[in-house]
């Protein structure tokens, strides 16, 4: 049931990140808080829990806390801008050509990044995400051990993260937000 598991992480992410993204768009993306800020708050909340409590379902806690933080931020921003009704934003979010363009650009970048991975990692990604095949079956199909499949996947994620996140140009470095700096 790899597919079920797969979509769970993906769905979860979309669920908590969507309100946050809406909030960011309204406040001009790039100049405000993002995942790093959410992470700061999530981190602090994680510290407040008992370790023994967290150990049973660590990822569930992580997701839940992130979802809460994100929702709180989004609702805080809603109060500040009462004229933006939720459904209007929803509509704008799914239909606007800007969003579609962004999505297309993001997918094009992702395609580039995936194609610049070593061949075997690329193939494992394709089988896993494109065809929905689990680690075990990928290993069998490609004649690899399960450990190598997992190592390659982790390597691919890290490489993609670094390739796609390397856009720390001078202009973004300067766009600090006075709101959050003291």
């Amino acid at each position: 049931m790899t597919h079920g598991r797969q979509s769970r992480v993906a769905e979860w992410f979309t669920e908590w990140y969507t309100p946050l993204r809406r909030f960011l768009r309204r406040r001009n993306a790039g100049s405000t808080a993002d995942i790093d800020d959410i992470a700061q708050e999530v981190f602090l909340r994680l510290l407040r829990y008992n370790r023994s409590e967290l150990i049973d379902f660590p990822q569930a806690y992580l997701y839940k806390i992130a979802a809460n933080v994100s929702a709180e931020w989004a609702s805080r921003s809603n109060r500040r801008m009462p004229h933006n009704s939720a459904w209007l934003t929803d509509l704008a979010d799914t239909l606007s050509p800007q969003v579609e363009l962004e999505r297309d650009t993001a997918n094009a970048e992702l395609e580039h990044a995936i194609n610049s991975l070593p061949a075997r990692r690329r193939e494992i990604l394709r089988l896993h995400f494109g065809d929905g095949i689990g680690h075990e079956d990928i290993a069998r199909r490609m004649g690899l051990t399960r450990r190598i499949v997992k190592r390659d996947l982790a390597g691919a994620y890290a490489a993609l993260r670094i390739t796609l996140g390397a856009g720390a140009t001078d202009s973004t470095l300067q766009s600090s937000d006075s709101d959050r700096s003291v």
Binding site: L44, L46, I55, I162
Partner: protein, 363 residues
């Protein structure tokens, strides 16, 4: 300013997050593995951040619509690969990452991912040099402030902290009340907190400082700090090198400094319990009712007034919601059978008025 270090930290965190993501996906985390995962997350906000980024990566890959455009490596597709890679030198067997390509991708992704990734660096790089900012909370108000370097100050009710950042120092003067400091790591820029002659020095840790009329207490939740006495420091946050006595404090350790500047012995505490206030909880371990009432009065508009001296001196332990003084009053009433009287909405009076002056406890 050195940019490479945060980037290196981030790259390492990204790799670790990727490995955790795979392990979670495979659902083969043992209870030890889950414990390690939690410990890893609680080591640094950067770890949490990279974990969230990893999840986003996963989402994006799951939603990626064009897997047929991803080059395959089956034998029958070799010709296709060759055709598509003609601009690469023939000697290369693989799609080795070219610096130009990743740079271009990096630039193009700019607003969406790049800005977020740059944020940590922005926070570290940008300092509001020389400026002093005053953070202040009212009764019943708690406030969490992210400083320009990513450090976080969680201010308890009725507290005042002055923050001043310089090129090689980050200084906070706690003028009143209590605060939890989550310090972003930067060995070149020590973080100091001064409270009535006591100085706490940290590089990257989580610690709590509480200042009352009678004492200053310092509690470390994570990492290590140095506590020194500077009787001559006029709370200006100025550096004065001559430390009288220095005490090093590790995780789950607390020291109380009396107003005379005497450093009491370091003792063990549960750090998480000591900072329960940041989660809206008040935890008391063998504290006097007077002290507990004082705490509740900080967090609430409704004030508890104690008229019974014996009751005030009684010691109790328990966990209460900071915003629910009634639960505490009910607890005390059931335990001691003391009289409870409400005056208006803002006052709860415990005990009977006696001949002596009222023993009112305020903030």
């Amino acid at each position: 300013m050195n940019h490479s270090t945060p980037h290196e930290y981030r790259a390492k965190a990204a790799e670790e997050a990727a490995r955790w993501l795979v392990a979670i996906q495979a659902e083969d985390l043992s209870s030890q593995g889950r414990a390690d995962f939690i410990d890893w997350l609680r080591e640094s906000p950067l770890h949490v951040s990279e974990m969230l980024y990893a999840c986003r990566m996963y989402r994006d890959l799951s939603a990626f619509p064009k897997w047929e455009k991803i080059l395959a490596v089956d034998d029958r597709n070799v010709s296709r690969i060759v055709r598509l890679v003609t601009r690469q030198s023939p000697g290369k067997s693989d799609y080795a990452e070219t610096p130009e390509r990743s740079k271009r991708i990096g630039r193009a992704i700019g607003l969406t991912v790049g800005a977020a990734a740059a944020l940590a660096c922005t926070i570290i790089a940008v300092a509001w040099l020389g400026q002093t900012t005053t953070l202040r909370t009212q009764l019943g108000e708690r406030r969490e402030v992210t400083l320009s370097d990513g450090s976080i100050v969680d201010l308890a009710p009725f507290s005042i902290a002055r923050v001043r950042y310089r090129t090689h120092s980050r200084s906070v003067v706690l003028e009143q009340g209590q605060a939890l400091f989550h310090v972003a790591k930067n060995p070149d820029r020590p973080f100091t907190v001064d409270a009535s002659g006591t100085r706490v020095r940290a590089v990257g840790t989580v610690f709590d400082v509480e200042r009352t009329e009678l004492s200053v207490s310092v509690t470390v939740v994570e990492g290590r700090v140095t506590v020194t006495e500077h009787p001559d420091v006029q709370e200006s946050g100025t550096e004065s090198a001559d430390a009288e006595a220095a005490v090093s404090l590790g995780a789950d350790e607390q020291i109380v400094i009396s107003s005379t500047g005497r450093l009491n012995a370091v003792h063990k505490v549960k750090g998480e319990m000591e900072i329960a206030w940041t989660a809206g909880q008040l935890v008391f371990d063998n504290e006097s009712v007077a002290e507990i009432a004082r705490r509740f009065n900080l967090y609430n508009r409704t004030q508890i007034v104690l008229l019974d001296k014996n009751l005030a001196a009684r010691r109790i332990s328990g966990v209460f919601r900071a915003t629910d003084p009634d639960s505490f009053v009910a607890f005390v009433q059931s335990a001691s059978g003391v009289d409870v009287e409400r005056q208006g909405v803002d006052q709860i009076i415990l005990g009977r008025p006696s001949a002596d002056a009222e023993h009112a406890i305020g903030p």
